[in-house]
């Protein structure tokens, strides 16, 4: 990751895409969210979803996988240029999460994240807090998920915190 000071509000990062298979949808559901419409094609067809679809928590877990991969890629590129990587994480939480459309078998979801705001952390000197809007879009160009995440990111110097 980049350091807190280097991060520009408004910047958008493309995190990459993932195609959801029936096998992984059922595997995640059987471990964490075994509602019939995430587990069984026939039950899903009889439900308002109409087809087997991923647990919303599965969509989020895939977002995180691509987000971490992106952060690691940035760290590698920085290392290649002789720049130190900034530490990041953990996150205090998220808000305004919307599961806008189901993620069906075979859907390819592309994720992106935009920096909405940044401020120095009051509770953790030497760290800043980023606010990010993340969106997942399917192959038809429809948004399927949107949420606002918060994450701690290391600062290069101890910035005096702003009032919270």
């Amino acid at each position: 990751m980049m350091f807190f000071e280097e991060i520009v509000v408004g910047e958008v990062a493309e995190l990459g895409a993932h195609t959801f298979t029936a096998e992984e949808i059922k595997r995640f559901a059987s471990a964490f969210d075994p509602q019939p419409f995430h587990m069984d094609e026939a039950a899903a067809e009889a439900s308002h979803f109409g087809k087997l679809c991923a647990s919303g928590w599965h969509t989020l877990a895939i977002w995180m996988r691509l987000n971490v991969r992106h952060m690691q890629q940035v760290a590698r590129e920085r290392a290649a240029s002789g720049l130190a990587p900034a530490r990041s994480g953990p996150s205090p939480g998220f808000n305004d999460l919307k599961w806008l459309k189901p993620v069906y078998v075979g859907d390819r979801i592309s994720f992106s994240t935009e920096v909405l705001a940044k401020r120095a952390s009051r509770s953790r000197p030497g760290w800043g807090l980023l606010t990010l809007r993340s969106v997942g879009r399917n192959q038809m160009g429809e948004d399927v998920i949107s949420f606002v995440a918060h994450v701690f990111i290391e600062a290069q110097v101890d910035t005096p915190p702003e009032d919270e």
Binding site: D33, H48, G56, L60, N95
Partner: protein, 149 residues
């Protein structure tokens, strides 16, 4: 099995989450697949981070919360899924060996205006560890079928 429909919920009602003990193996397995950051994978690497030791991915805690909710009450409810989560806070790290428990509290009921077959029940979900500390707090609506006539 008699399902719990939208009409069967009332404000203030408390529904239990099924307890779950989190193992080190499942923390590392989830992290390896979805959130491979050092503080979710390895004790030594986690020691010098803001988490101060190995802890579950917040997304793992979310997934476990869903499972605890399924086994606690959703498996017997006419759930149609959820449109989203208004807010979710990870308040404390979840560590290997923690036994999570908790509850879903009904805070609001709203019948759908556009679709007469369903309603929205808004919950405050509280997840606690074995020391009685809250580790996760969330608020979200869950869509439930109305009782068929």
């Amino acid at each position: 099995m008699s399902l719990r429909y939208f009409e069967d919920f009332e404000v203030g009602q408390i529904l239990p989450l099924a307890p779950h003990t989190v193992t080190r193996a499942e923390i590392v397995a989830f992290a390896a697949e979805f959130d491979p950051q050092p503080f979710h994978l390895d004790e030594a690497a986690a020691a010098d981070t803001l988490l101060g030791g190995l802890a579950a991915s917040g997304w793992h805690t979310c997934a476990l919360f869903m499972r605890m909710m399924y086994h606690g009450w959703i498996s017997e409810a006419a759930s149609m899924g959820s449109p989203g989560v208004d807010s979710l806070k990870w308040l404390r790290p979840v560590r290997p060996g923690d036994t999570l428990s908790g509850r879903s509290v009904v805070v609001e009921l709203r019948a759908s205006k556009s679709k007469p077959d369903r309603g929205f029940v808004r919950f405050r979900h509280e997840v606690m560890n074995g020391r009685g500390e809250m580790v996760m707090l969330a608020e979200n609506p869950i869509m439930l079928s109305r009782r068929p006539n």
